[in-house]
């Protein structure tokens, strides 16, 4: 068990999903500080602030289907500002079609996952996130 804590930004309009991810991290014994915003506009506002303060999160979990501005717009925003080079962006969506995958990768997303149906599957996914966190250059231990 490491004592370092990573900051993670979750962009999702479903509070249940955010809660589930938090629990999954807890259960996996991965201490992280989770910030969350519920739509794309908020996400972009927050990201521009933290980018200016040089306080980028260690990872961004991004939903696609959101009110006001969707996940593609957020990705585009991050891509244009080269944030995707500094922060791994993981796209989590209910269903992913081939075109969506291609588009996300083109915009700089690190990986795409369908949202799991059970807490067990989610915990396995969190184990995978551990690798991205260890690779992340920003949002290190606080």
């Amino acid at each position: 068990m490491t004592t370092t804590q990573h900051r993670i930004l979750i962009v999702d309009d479903n509070p249940g999903d955010i809660e589930l991810v938090r629990i999954a991290f807890e259960m996996a014994g991965l201490p992280v500080v989770i910030e969350s915003v519920s739509d794309g506009i908020e996400a972009m506002r927050l990201l521009s602030t933290v980018a200016r303060d040089k306080a980028l999160p260690a990872m961004v979990l991004l939903d696609l289907n959101m009110p006001r501005a969707n996940g593609f717009e957020v990705l585009d925003f991050m891509c244009v500002r080269h944030l995707v080079d500094q922060v791994p962006v993981i796209v989590m969506s209910t269903s992913l079609q081939v075109e969506d995958r291609r588009r996300c990768l083109a915009l700089g997303a690190r990986a795409m996952y369908s949202k799991p149906d059970s807490i067990q599957d989610l915990r396995q996914l969190v184990e995978a996130f551990r690798i991205y966190l260890s690779q992340s250059s920003v949002g290190g231990p606080v």
Binding site: I23, T94, S95, Q97, V98, D117, S118, Q120
Partner: protein
């Protein structure tokens, strides 16, 4: 050298010779005469000396003074003779001798005389003897001298004779030489003349003779530069002139003959023929002119072009003057006023030239083309009518608007029969097809002028047309018994245009219904012929057909519009449905996932705090949500087929099956199944959908197995233009009564406790196959396994005829692929 000079030189030479000879002879004659005189003088001297001797003798005999006297006279004579001899050129030395000897003689004589004279008496008396002796000696001396004189005189005489003979010989020789030379000269001259004159003159004569006999082509061709040479050349020239003129003469004669023949010929020719001199003066016309026209073109003092129709005259004049200017012919159609009236002529004017290209004559020929013109007129009329008919036919075929159509028919009918006005009355129905009413079209009059008269009443005259009894054609309709017998107008209403010629034709459709009538009218009598009637009948038939087709097409259009409307509505509803299914499925997933996730969380965290029943509830809730999840995913996949982007490519089905089997590997292993494969073709299709198709079919085959381990066989065959692919199993089989039902969505044949599934798998397969332009089905009996088959187009044939109607296929998500639908 000219002959003249040659002869002159020759003659001059001969004359010189002869003159020279004569001069010479004259000179030698005078010399001869001198010699003669010398000779004579010398003779005289001899004679005189002899006389002197005589005198001496006399004196001797008788001294007497007379002989002395005489002697002295003679001596003086001698002196003169000597003088003369000297003058005429006698031999000087001899003459000198003569002179000296005479002097001697004279002295001697004087001595003797002195003696004799003074002593004559004494002689006789005294000493006669002595005197005598002395005298004798003197006399003797004297005689000796005298002898010498005679000798010398004779010598002179002989010398002169000799000289004379020599001169004579020389003269003879010279004369002979000169004469010889002259003769030779004359002989040469003769030869020369023969050769240079006579022979050539002979040649000339012979040439002239032959020329006289007609050989005008011969030439003497004497190149010499003398008179005869020139004469010969002049002769040659003359001959060639004669030859040429003879030739010209014969040509002219021939021309005259041919002109005469021509004249006879053109008289014999049909049609009008006339001819003009190169300057355009007409000098010939043939018999037809004289027979058919009041005047002929060659009539003096008359402008024949007055015969040409005034509309054609200017054209003729300009063509004629330009022909005269350019020397080229032309062709023109003109009307000429014959005795029997105007007549069309096709007139050709051609220049006639000789072989040297010189214009000789203008020849004009005019053929009567009245008949042609009439034919042409008829032909043009017929062609115009045919064109009108053709055009109206074409227009009617294309025209669907009834109003335009009827107007067009009416206009054409009027144009064809040249009527003053035409009207077409016809029955029609409104859009609903219920209300029948009558409309009309008018040509030749403004439609408003006609509006006041309304529709034709069912008068006796009109009725026959609308009842279809036949065509009515009247030269004067007012004479028709049906005319003017019906109320209210008893004839045409007031203000109606005058109608005399009348032609009415029913418009009858193919099924025999009279839908209207076509009426043509003219204010003049007898305007409409049988031909017009036939034409209007044709137009009416065309119009009827056009009415029919316009109605048909109108109906068809209405139907097509309806069908199009339905189709677009259907397409919209389909699109909405698909969008709805997609959104539904997608949005249903979210809450469902929440349910299942939190249920699983509940199960994991609080399992220990629940009793068995609580755990069972949770399990059931998880199962339910899981099935719901599958359902939603399958519906999502189902709705995606036929949605999304076109993603077709050439794919080898072997690779597709590899992928499908890999996805099913766990199931295959669990069931202990055997998959028997054979090589599959390459098709043009959406890859993911094909994977799903095989995955679903093989998945089904694995799922519905009986007691035996499942054996799945994949196969392919070609039925001529499509691939037929089969997936066979040895499973439980399907009742043939259910074969249709299993491909319907949400249809299941088994309880969920027997075989799990959503009832979407096969319907998804069907949708995929149909979207690819194929077909799907099953051959099966219960308990004997099942063979699912589907067809896909052969891409090699698709290359040639691309399927435009092919639906664009979406792509399934990996999740939906991973689990095959079941029925």
């Amino acid at each position: 050298m000219s002959l003249r000079r040659a002869v002159m030189i020759a003659v001059a030479t001969a004359s010189l010779l002869i003159v020279g000879l004569l001069i010479h002879l004259a000179k030698s004659g005078s010399a001869s005469r001198a010699l003669d005189e010398t000779s004579r003088l010398s003779n005289d001297v001899t004679t005189a000396v002899a006389e002197l001797d005589q005198l001496i003798y006399e004196l001797m005999l008788q001294p007497h003074p007379r002989p002395v006297q005489q002697w002295r006279i003679l001596s003086e004579d001698l002196q003169r003779l000597f003088q003369r001899l000297e003058e005429i050129g006698g031999p000087n030395h001899l003459v000198e001798r003569l002179r000296s000897e005479h002097l001697q003689a004279h002295e001697l004589f004087e001595t003797i005389v002195t003696d004799s004279t003074f002593q004559t008496q004494a002689l006789a008396q005294t000493n006669t003897a002595v005197v005598r002796l002395r005298r004798s000696r003197l006399t003797e001396q004297l005689l000796l001298v005298s002898r010498s004189l005679v000798n010398h005189a004779n010598a002179i005489h002989r010398a002169s004779l000799r000289e004379q003979a020599r001169i004579k010989h020389r003269d003879n020789a010279i004369t002979i030489a000169a004469l010889g030379a002259t003769i030779a000269l004359l002989a040469w001259l003769l030869g020369y003349i023969h050769q240079q004159v006579l022979a050539r003159l002979e040649a000339l004569r012979r040439g002239a003779e032959r020329a006289a006999h007609g050989n005008l082509a011969l030439r003497i061709a004497d190149p010499r530069e003398d008179e005869i040479g020139r004469l010969s050349r002049t002769f040659d020239h003359l001959l060639s002139e004669v030859h040429d003129s003879r030739k010209r003469l014969s040509e002219e004669t021939a021309l005259r003959a041919s002109e005469e023949r021509q004249r006879q010929l053109i008289d014999a020719l049909p049609g009008l023929v006339w001819a003009a001199r190169p300057d355009g003066t007409i000098d010939t016309s043939n018999r037809s002119w004289r027979e058919q026209f009041e005047v002929t073109p060659d009539a003096p003092g008359y402008d024949w072009t007055e015969l040409i129709h005034e509309n054609d005259r200017a054209a003729w004049r300009s063509a004629w003057s330009s022909a005269l200017a350019n020397g080229t012919g032309f062709e023109i159609e003109i009307r000429l006023q014959r005795r029997d009236g105007w007549c069309w002529y096709l007139t050709r004017v051609a220049p006639l030239a000789n072989d040297r290209g010189e214009l000789l004559r203008w020849v004009c020929k005019a053929s009567d083309i009245n008949h042609h013109k009439q034919l042409e007129h008829h032909l043009r009329n017929s062609r115009n009518q045919a064109e009108l008919l053709n055009q109206v036919g074409l227009d009617l075929v294309g025209e669907l608007d009834i109003g335009c159509l009827t107007q067009r028919v009416t206009d054409t009918a009027r144009a064809l029969v040249e009527a003053e006005f035409c009207a077409l009355f016809y029955n029609t129905t409104d859009a609903t097809g219920d209300d029948a009413y009558q409309l009309y079209a008018v040509s030749g009059l403004p439609k408003e002028d006609f509006a006041g008269f309304g529709m034709p009443h069912a008068t006796d005259l009109f009725r026959v047309t609308f009842t279809g009894e036949g065509v009515v054609r009247c030269d004067d309709v007012r004479q028709d018994p049906r005319y003017g017998r019906s109320a209210p107008h008893f004839g045409p209403p007031a203000g109606h245009p005058r109608v005399v010629s009348y032609l009415a034709v029913p418009v009858r459709t193919r099924n025999g219904t009279i839908i209207g009538g076509l009426f043509c009218a003219h204010s003049q009598a007898a305007q409409f012929t049988m031909q017009h009637e036939r034409l209007v009948l044709g137009i009416a038939a065309l119009a009827a057909t056009a009415f029919d087709s316009a109605r048909l097409i109108d109906a068809e259009r209405r139907q097509r519009r309806l069908a199009d409307q339905h189709a677009s509505e259907l397409a919209r509803s389909n699109a909405e449905l698909e969008q709805f299914a997609y959104i539904c499925s997608h949005d249903l997933q979210e809450p469902l996932r929440m349910v299942s996730s939190f249920l699983s969380l509940l199960d994991e965290r609080y399992r220990a705090k629940l009793d068995d029943r609580g755990r069972d509830f949770i399990r059931r809730a998880i199962e339910g949500s899981s099935r719901m999840h599958k359902l939603v995913r399958d519906i999502l996949a189902f709705s995606r087929v036929g949605r999304g982007e076109r993603a077709e490519e050439l794919i080898p089905l072997d690779e597709v099956v590899d992928e499908a089997l890999a996805n099913l590997q766990t199931t295959i292993d669990q069931a202990g199944a055997r998959i028997e494969r054979s090589p599959l073709p390459t098709v043009r299709a959406n890859r993911l959908q094909c994977v799903q198709l095989f995955q679903n079919l093989v998945g089904n085959a694995l799922k519905f197995h009986g007691d035996a381990a499942p054996v799945v066989t994949l196969g392919a065959s070609h039925d001529g233009h499509r691939w037929r692919l089969t997936v066979s199993d040895n499973g439980i089989g399907i009742d043939p009564a259910q074969h249709q039902r299993i491909f319907q969505v949400f249809q299941r044949l088994h309880g969920r406790d027997q075989y799990d599934g959503t009832g979407i798998g096969l319907s998804l397969c069907k949708k995929i196959v149909l979207a690819h332009g194929g077909d799907i089905g099953v051959d099966s009996q219960v308990g004997h396994g099942a063979t699912f088959w589907f067809t896909l187009p052969d891409p090699s044939e698709l290359e040639q005829t691309p399927l435009s109607g092919l639906h664009v296929l979406g792509t399934p998500s990996p999740e939906s692929v991973s689990e095959a639908g079941a029925s």
